[in-house]
């Protein structure tokens, strides 16, 4: 194998050699430079290969032929091989990316670049402290040179700030090193470690100086203004290089040197990291400049890495996996995003909308962002999961909260940015150039992300149990994204059908709950995909997103442990976010949705972590045994599910997200996605049946939340003018019923909840499909702009009618079953007050149901709708499939409810229903669905015949056969009776439902923004002040560590 010392000889040799070629063709010289990096990377790679596959011993290089500690030695071990490989590859890719820059600046710039990469390689390899200092200086001088590859006042002043800061740091570092030599008598790191040379009191101060200097090189918040300016002021390619290489190398050095420090240093590192992680991500929120934003994110990520390093002893053998997972994600994603910044050439994150001109780059950006934010299936997800689990096992919940909080803040700004890129206004923005040398590194970055994701899952306990097959299919769908939508729709429907056929029968007779939910998710998927046939063109990006959501959903059902569950949950989140944001105006709503989802998921993750603590297994059963914190676990996980259920307080994302999404996406998310929360609650509550905090019974509180959600949701729904928002708000209401039912923790309560879930799936799908179909025709969402459509769209009318009958719980349809069960359950539970509220909410539901049918279909036809046609057949077909299902369920509920009852009996044996055919008997009364159906049908037929008979001779009135009494209406819509129909109710009780919850969330975000805005004022742009920050950081650290000055 090639001696690693040749990394030095190649880099330096080439750098010196370039001096001969000053005037030569720069194409030649830059090729030579790139070859040098490739050769370096090859050397690292072959060592890496040897360490992994043939168990090679670490290789020591003794320079000058003398043994250490008397000469400088280098070490090539497995970790060194990994890190040098990363650095050399980053050098190569970054060199390719900035090819044009190097061609313009000539060999001097290439020399500096070679020096930078060489310096970083050596600081990783070296085992000598002073040698580390020398090559650290090499790399920081070279960095100072790289910053000014673009010469303008910004970059030059940023470069000066950098050099000011780094020379101050190096003064302290040198001082520390010299005193380490004085107190230890050696400069060799191994010597210090094995012979414990640094035990004296003085040496501690010296070690302090050295380690603080290295920490400061990692740009900890808030002593990092200089670094942020560098990220902002230099070329994006340099930003990529710095965040990918410098930080990586110095991080490795820190890890190396901590070995000879006092163990308390690990705590220092963790604290520094946490401050950095949270602080930097907080400030990122206010940032509008893309490169500076990435700078904040870099600092944050390094902070997280420091936390991980600080806990390396706690994490034990998992440390390497976790650190590597986070590091590699940061490395790839950050350089990828910086490269994208170099391609888009837009400073303001709002202008990244330019990416829409090349959707493939949006995909790249998405991959990098989701990698950074720790979503599956990317390596950072696995690392973060394991980190939380391990820290929870060690009982470090405060740290877990810190990490999750910081991650959340990071998600805020990353996804706001992504939102701008996906949906921002882009018509005025210039098209960006796409030279090959800029695309190549990005593509390699994306492919590497996927490659490493694939590898890294297998290294984790339980990782192999994850189901990646749906993801392969999604990848396939992405590859054929250019195909016409109709073709892809057919493929997807066929595949889901096939998958359903594989999965659903398995649960028959074994697990009724999973049977129900897998049916809802899969059959629902098929039904809601059918309208997709209406779409022309290729509908880019829709199918991968939809499939991601559905695979997440079915993954939830199929999961047998918390790990698979969380994995699927996050997949579902990505998919649904990408689906929701497709709507024309849905950018802010999708953003809100994502924030609530991410926040909820982090609560869940924390709950899972607490449950997992101290238990080897990952299975759901650990929730049951998760004493003594089971109540807190319950609460945390419940919050996660409540965000998805849009329970009151967590609902503000829902109306916009559902209302603004595409016509066929709305039923997908509202009638299918929302059930994930219900499923989650079923899993949670069957495992933790009793949760109390102090005197408070958590389910009891959940019950109240459900009641209020139902009430407020229904009132809000009644006051909407937008048909889609009306249906969306009604979801909040229905989910309130479901939560209330679950919270009763009784047999009938649960039966009610599940019945409502099924009903909601059916009627909400039906209503959204019907209304979506109508809206596509009328081109308006406002109900007062519709009216009289009954004759034009009879099929849609019938669908909506059936839908609202089910919704309102009017016999004979299955909604009534839910109501009947509900009142039984309430009475048996004895929650009379809540019951009264629920009843009141049910009455309010009539208000909006009435409005839906009246405003859209009855009354007068608008002039512009005279030639309107029935909704598309692709919308009608799934509606009528659902209607048939509703009819069957209504007539024969026993086939579903009886097995559920049996299943429930294992948890709640009391108050079960007794079934006799279609006759259900509770202790309060009985109900025969089939008979009711027959009676109502009979009455209906009789009445219909009667009316037809009576109305035979009635006169038809022309539509405009009306006279205004010498009065012209000011606004045409006010002539529609349904406009602001419930204005008086609004006056009376509007104050109750003024969106104070929305306001309080707004206030929270306002506070956070204000704090961020004030805090970032410390970065006043003055290089001297930044140097002072560094010094203050050091002295404060000293005072804290030392407990005073002396």
């Amino acid at each position: 194998m090639v001696n690693p010392i040749h990394i030095v000889s190649i880099s330096l040799g080439v750098a010196f050699f370039l001096g001969f070629l000053r005037k030569a063709n720069h194409n030649l010289t830059s090729t030579i430079m790139l070859l040098a990096f490739a050769a370096n990377a090859f050397i690292s790679a072959q060592w890496l290969w040897a360490f992994i596959y043939s168990n090679t011993e670490p290789f020591y290089i003794f320079t000058a032929g003398f043994r250490p500690p008397y000469s400088i030695s280098l070490l090539m071990g497995r970790n060194e091989a990994i890190f040098t490989f990363l650095i050399n590859i980053a050098g190569l890719l970054s060199g390719i990316f900035m090819l044009k820059t190097y061609l313009r600046h000539g060999v001097y710039a290439m020399m500096a670049f070679l020096g930078l990469i060489l310096g970083l390689n050596i600081i990783i390899l070296t085992r000598d402290l002073f040698n580390f200092f020398v090559f650290m200086e090499v790399s920081s001088i070279a960095t100072a040179g790289m910053i000014i590859l673009i010469k303008n006042v910004k970059s030059v002043s940023a470069g000066f700030k950098y050099i000011v800061a780094s020379s101050l740091i190096s003064i302290l570092l040198l001082l520390g090193i010299v005193f380490i030599y004085y107190f230890g008598g050696s400069l060799n790191i191994d010597d210090m470690i094995t012979n414990h040379l640094l035990v004296s009191k003085g040496a501690e101060v010296a070690v302090f100086l050295v380690l603080m200097s290295i920490l400061l090189e990692l740009k900890p918040f808030p002593a990092n203004g200089w670094a942020l300016d560098v990220y902002e002021g230099s070329l994006p390619g340099i930003g990529a290089l710095l965040s990918a290489t410098s930080a990586t190398a110095v991080y490795f050095v820190l890890n190396k040197l901590l070995a000879f420090a006092n163990p308390y240093w690990y705590n220092v590192v963790a604290v520094v990291g946490m401050i950095s992680f949270i602080g930097s991500n907080l400030l990122g929120i206010k940032q509008k400049n893309a490169q500076r934003l990435l700078g904040y994110s870099s600092v944050g990520q390094i902070g997280l890495l420091l936390v991980i390093l600080g806990f390396s002893n706690t994490l034990g053998e998992k440390f390497e996996y976790i650190a590597f997972g986070v590091l590699i994600s940061h490395y790839l994603a950050k350089s990828g995003l910086f490269w994208l910044a170099g391609i888009v050439k837009q400073d303001n994150i709002k202008n990244w909308a330019a990416l829409q001109k090349k959707p493939i780059f949006l995909f790249f950006m998405g991959v990098f962002l989701f990698t950074l934010a720790g979503f599956p299936p990317f390596p950072s997800f696995f690392a973060k999961w394991q980190l939380i689990m391990e820290l929870s096992t060690a009982g470090m919940y405060a740290w877990v909260i810190g990490i999750l909080f910081g991650s959340f803040l990071e998600a805020v700004y990353l996804f706001r940015w992504f939102g701008y890129a996906m949906k921002g206004e882009h018509n005025d923005l210039p098209m960006f150039e796409l030279p090959w040398h800029k695309i190549l590194p990005v593509v390699i970055g994306v492919l590497s992300v996927f490659g490493i994701s694939y590898i890294s899952k297998d290294w984790l306990p339980g990782g192999t149990s994850l189901n990646f097959i749906p993801l392969y299919f999604i990848a396939f769908m992405y590859l054929i994204d250019f195909a016409p939508a109709k073709v892809k729709n057919t493929i997807v429907i066929l595949v889901i059908t096939y998958y359903s056929w594989l999965v659903i029968p398995n649960y028959y007779n074994t697990d009724i709950i999973r049977l129900i939910f897998s049916s809802i998710f899969l059959i629902g998927a098929i039904l809601t995909l059918i309208p997709g046939y209406l779409k022309k063109g290729s509908r880019k990006g829709f199918y991968p997103a939809a499939l991601l959501m559905f695979s997440g959903l079915i993954g939830l059902v199929e999961s047998t442990n918390i790990y698979q569950f969380f994995f699927s949950w996050e997949l579902m989140t990505i998919g649904s976010y990408l689906l929701i944001i497709r709507g024309k105006y849905s950018m802010p709503h999708a953003f809100k949705y994502l924030l609530f989802s991410v926040g909820g998921a982090y609560f869940m993750l924390m709950g899972f972590g607490m449950a997992h603590a101290g238990q080897a297994s990952l299975s759901f059963d650990i929730l049951r045994t998760g004493v003594p914190y089971s109540s807190i676990i319950f609460l945390l996980i419940a919050i996660g599910f409540m965000t998805k259920l849009a329970s009151l307080g967590f609902h503000i994302w829902l109306p916009g997200a559902y209302g603004e999404s595409e016509a066929d996406v709305a039923p997908m998310v509202s009638s299918i996605l929302i059930n994930a929360g219900v499923f989650g609650f079923i899993i949670l509550m069957t495992h933790i049946p009793d949760a109390n905090i102090g005197y408070f019974n958590i389910p009891y509180m959940l019950g109240w939340i459900g009641v209020i959600s139902a009430l407020v949701g229904n009132i809000m729904a009644s006051l909407q003018e937008d048909a889609r928002k009306l249906v969306a708000y009604s979801s909040i209401g229905v989910m309130g019923y479901v939560l209330f039912g679950m919270a009763m923790m009784s047999h009938l309560g649960w039966l009610t909840a599940i019945t409502y879930t099924i009903n909601h799936f059916l009627f909400k799908g039906l209503l959204f499909l019907a209304i979506g179909g109508v809206i596509l025709r009328t081109k308006t969402f406002n109900m007062y702009e519709m009216g009289g459509l009954i004759k034009k769209m009879p099929w849609s009318f019938i669908a909506v009618l059936i839908g609202i009958i089910t919704l309102a719980g009017i016999p004979p349809l299955s909604g009534y079953a839910g109501k009947w069960l509900f009142y039984n359950a309430i009475v048996l539970k004895g929650w009379y007050i809540q019951g009264a509220f629920i009843m009141f909410a049910g009455i309010i539901a009539f208000l909006y149901c009435f409005r839906l049918i009246y405003a859209i279909f009855l009354g007068q036809l608008k002039d512009e709708h005279r030639n309107i046609k029935e909704a598309s057949v692709w919308f009608i077909i799934p509606q009528y499939i659902i209607i048939i299902t509703i009819m069957l369920f209504s007539a024969f509920p026993q086939y579903v409810l009886n097995p559920i009852g049996n299943w429930l009996s294992q948890y709640f044996p009391n108050n079960a229903l007794v079934w006799n055919g279609s006759l259900a008997t509770s202790s309060l009364g009985y109900w025969n669905a089939f008979n009711i159906m027959m009676i109502v049908m009979g009455m209906f037929v009789v009445l219909l015949l009667f009316l037809l008979l009576v109305n035979r001779g009635s006169k038809k009135v022309g539509q405009f056969d009306i006279v205004y009494a010498a009065e012209r209406p000011e606004r045409p819509e006010t002539t529609h009776m349904a406009y602001n129909l419930y204005a008086h109710y609004n006056k009376a009780i509007g104050f109750l439902i003024t969106p104070w919850i929305t306001k309080s969330w707004d206030n929270i975000s306002e506070w956070v923004n204000t704090i961020a805005n004030h805090t970032r004022k410390i970065y006043n742009g003055n290089g001297q002040a930044y140097a002072l920050h560094i010094l203050i950081y050091i002295v404060i650290a000293y005072l804290i560590i030392n407990g005073g000055l002396f």
Partner: protein
Amino acid sequence: MYKKLLVFATIFILAGIFLKLYQNFDGSKTLNKTASYYAKNGASEVGSTNIVTAIVVTYRGFDTLGEVTILFVAAAIIGFFLKTNAKGTNRIRNLRFSSEIMITASKILMPIMFLIGAYVFVNGHLSPGGGFQGGAIIASGVAFFLLANPTLSVNHKVLSVLESTSGLIFVLLGIAGLIYGGGFLDNRVLPLGKFGTLFSAGIIPLVYSFIGLKVGAELSNIISSLQQIQKEE
């Protein structure tokens, strides 16, 4: 004022940290392990009279390589950072001409300074001094010359070739140590020779000479870059 107070307080605490270092310093009575090794074996293993040189060039030769790299990188950066416009050289610059004495002196002094520099780096293993010092003296000569004759400019090409050649030879000598000696930059490629003479200490005189040339060329390069700088319009 407020800021100065803050700076003062910070530096005051920093001084406290230094004081702590100082308190724990109690002089040295004997050489520590590492230094004793060099004292005992430096002469025999490396053959250099000047132990500092032995350390700089051989034992810690790798540091020196880094040092050379720093100067090299710094010179390169200054080179492209302050790059002269090819056309700009014709611009009439506001120069202050030096006195006749200065010019004459520089003409006489420069070769002498070059000679001194060369002497210093060739004898680096025998007496105080070595490549860096010698190189710096040479560069000072160049700087002096340029101060005296502001209109003249140094030929960058020659400097570059000199710099690159000596750098490459340094690296090659290092590799030679790897192949013929015990490791990268081992000086025992050539025989150690008679202790205390010019041609002794293996390749140390050679290495130091090339370091001297290289440093001289690099520093001269920096100086001449600074001299030629112009504002890019």
